[in-house]
Each structure stands twice: as structure tokens, then as C-alpha cells.
Amino acid sequence: MNYSSQSEVILSAKDIYFDYQLSLYQHSGLRDSFINMLRNPWDFLLKKPDALPVLRGISFDLHKGDRLGLLGLNGAGKTTLCRILSGMMTPSTGTITCPGNVEAIFDVATGIMPELTGRENAYLLARLFYQTRDISTEIVEEALEFSELSHFLDAPFKTYSKGMQARLVLSLISSSPSNVLILDEVFDGADLFFREKIAKRMVKKIQDSNAVIFVSHGPEQVLELCNRVLVLKNGVIEFDGPPQEAIQFYIQSGGSRSFGNL
């Protein structure tokens, strides 16, 4: 089933395939490899590792105004797809076309320099996360104020709890609209009080951005934030349509476990 709006295409994915080499899961060391090479030199040199297909022929267009939710069980390929769309990884075959920037966040409890203060980390993160855009001091300071971390902002980042780290990062990444924004289960790290506050701010950021891709295990967030949902299963798009129907489809196809009591 396919669903698309008629507005301008912001990002286009065409026939995306991605395979993992199974050998990459085995963290063997140089010493192990050396012994293996001596034991079976021909296998070492000539044997190709088995490949695990993760994405199989993903194609869709992201239009201006799309708030695209991604649903799928663990291992369905959601994060891999988001990483490919953001430019972190390149697909085995297929093409991604996106003339503008893609900004993506996959974990909000990450300190860049634990020894530096929260404020210093925020300025560094602004330069790294927003890539080519110059984010003004006013925008960063506004984000810091929004985080309500007040005097903790000048304490080392390593002293922050996971919730405080999430507050800082979420405040910053929601401070300026994007061309394409990818959010991968980012609300899960924040504490309950802040989650409601940041959700309102994020809704504004999402509305101001050209297009958003949103990965979540929470149906309420998908219904609130998205106007279109893709359901992924075993690396294939099984459903592309409005959120309510997508959630029903997902539950019927065995995805209800990740939603809890719906």
C-alpha cells in the first residue's frame, strides 16, 4: 500500500538495499585473525563472509509538510534506514536524493566532552549537530534557558544524570527548524516533567521544519506528531498511509507487543 501527498519532494529514496556482513558482529582481534590466517590461509584470503539483508528495496518520497512516522519491531531496519537517510551510512545499492540538509539525532544522553560544562558542551554540540548552519549565541542561550538547568549549566557534564543530559540535548536540537529532521526514539531519555514540556516545543519545531521522520514505540506520539506512517517489517515497507490505519495494520501484523496495552 502506498501513500503520498502532492507537495514538493524534499527527499527521495529509490530502491534502497543494505546488507550487513555477519563477520562484523564477531569482534575477533588481530591476534585471533593472525592465528586463523595461519590455520586456514585459503579461507582467510578467499572466503567471503555471509551477508545479512537488513533493507530490501525501500522506496518512498518525503514531501514538504510530511511528518513521517516509522513503525517496526526491533530489527525491522528503522535505525539503519534513518542512518542511511541522514548520510551517516551509504546503502549497498540504491540512491538517496535530498538537495537540502538532513539533521538527525539518535541518542540524547550523549555528552561530547564530559570534563567540560553543560554550557560548553551545548555550544560544541550546536556546531557539530547543525553541520553547515551557523547557530547564533542567542539561539543556544535560549535553548539553555529552556532546559531549566540553571546553575548546573556551569557544572561538568559528567556530573549530569541521564535525564539532565537529555534535557540539554533536546532543548538544543529543538531550537532551530530543519530542512529534514530525523528523531529516533529521542523522547525516551527525558524525565516525565520535561517530556511534556519538550514535546510542545518539539511540535513547534516539527511544524516549522520542511519534513520530519520520527521513530517511536509510543502510539500516542505517532498519532500526535505524524500525518503519515511507514510500517517496516524485515527490511521491507509493508504499509504507507495515515497514522490511525498504520497503527491498526501494525497491531494486526503482530507489532502490538511494542505498544504495550493499547
Partner: protein
Amino acid sequence: MKISELELILRQSYAFCLSSLKSRYRKTFAGFVWVLLNPVLMFGVQSVVFRKILRIQVPDFYLFLVGGLVPWIFMSQTISMSASTLTSNSGILKAFRLNPAVLVNSSYFDNLFNFLIATLIITGPIIVYSEIGPQWGVILAPFALLPLIVGCYAISSFVAILNVFYRDTSFVLNFFFSLFFFLTPIFYPIDFVPLEYRWFIELNPFYHLINPYRFALYQPISMDLLPLWLKAFAWALGLSVISALYWRKKKNELFISI
């Protein structure tokens, strides 16, 4: 304004490196003192052992030693530290889009900055008080360092990504450097090596990368530096090509294994 990928990497590397330096030297001089103390102690101990105890007969031995030892310490420390650069920052790499080269560059520039400071502070007085006194060749030292800087960067970036797939790379490197300290003419000149074993030294990239710098410090200014420099630069380019090809092959798989 659309900027190129290279410009973006350089900008981000600069920002990351500045923060890294600030983090290291925050509130205390301990980090900075250690940067100087490490080569000073190594130099002091080796001067005594090789000159006074083993009685190695090399003219102006202290100048000879400092010309090889300080770059060796820079290379061995930088390459060893680079091995864990990507794995120890896996959280950042997984959190948002950041070219992994930014982390490698930042760590490298941080070490290079320390090396240049240590070189000025330690090597300067030894040149001034050496038996032969300051030579005009010293002014060529920055030029002579260029292949070493390029070659060391190539090896550092190579081991950084190698360690993502082979987590015992740091262990192997420590073993490797403890062997190669004796197999590289650092505290002895190549003339001490019997002719039948010289081929081994010729295959040692560390020797070639250090050689022009030591020549600039230790020898009177002459055109003999040029062939050494060209040979060193050829090694640096070769190492860069190998490193770049490995990065290109493995960069995509990095996010799976890290």
C-alpha cells in the same frame, strides 16, 4: 551558504580540538606538565643509559638523541592514542551525524600541538648548548617535519578504524612499539647497523619519517636533506593512500561494529 564536506570536517575538527585542549588543561597544569615531563624523563634516562652506561660513541650524542627520540615519542604516543579514538567516542558517533574523521583529526591535532610545544621547549636548549652549536639546518626543521606529520596522521587514522574491527589493536601496538624502539635507529646511528641488516632498516617507515628532521637538527645545512625528504614524503604518501583506501572500504561498516 553550502560548504564542502572537507571544509565542514576541518571546521568541526577545529572546534572539537579546541574543546579537547580546554578539557585537558582545565584548572590544572598537570596535563601540560605531563606533556613536557614525559619526553624530558625519557630523554634524561636514555641519555644516562646509552651515553654513560653503554657508552655509545656518537658525536654530540644529546643532540643526536633528542632529534630522534622526541619525534619517536610523538609518533608512538599519537598512534597508540589514536587506536581508541573512535571506539571511546562511539556514543557520539551513534548519536548524530558526525564524520568519524573529525574525531581522528581532533585527537591528532591535540597531540601535534603538544609535540610542537615539547619540541620547542626541550630541543631548543639542547641545540643551543650542543657541542657543534646551532646549525643553519635548524631553519629547515619545520620543512623536514612535514613528511613525519603526514605519515603519522596516515598511520593514526588507519589504526583508529582498525581498532573498531579488531579491538586488541592497542595491545598489539604497544608490543609493536616496544619492539620497534630497538629496531629503529633512534639512540644509535644507522652506521652501527651491519650492512647485511640495513635492508631491514630501509623497510622501516619510522626511520624514514624521522630521518629528515634529525638531519636538519644534527647536520650542517646541505642539499643532502632533499633526497632524505623525498624518500620520507614518498613513504608518507604511500601510507596515506593505504589508509585512505582502508577508510573508504570500512567507513560504512564502522557504525555496525562500533
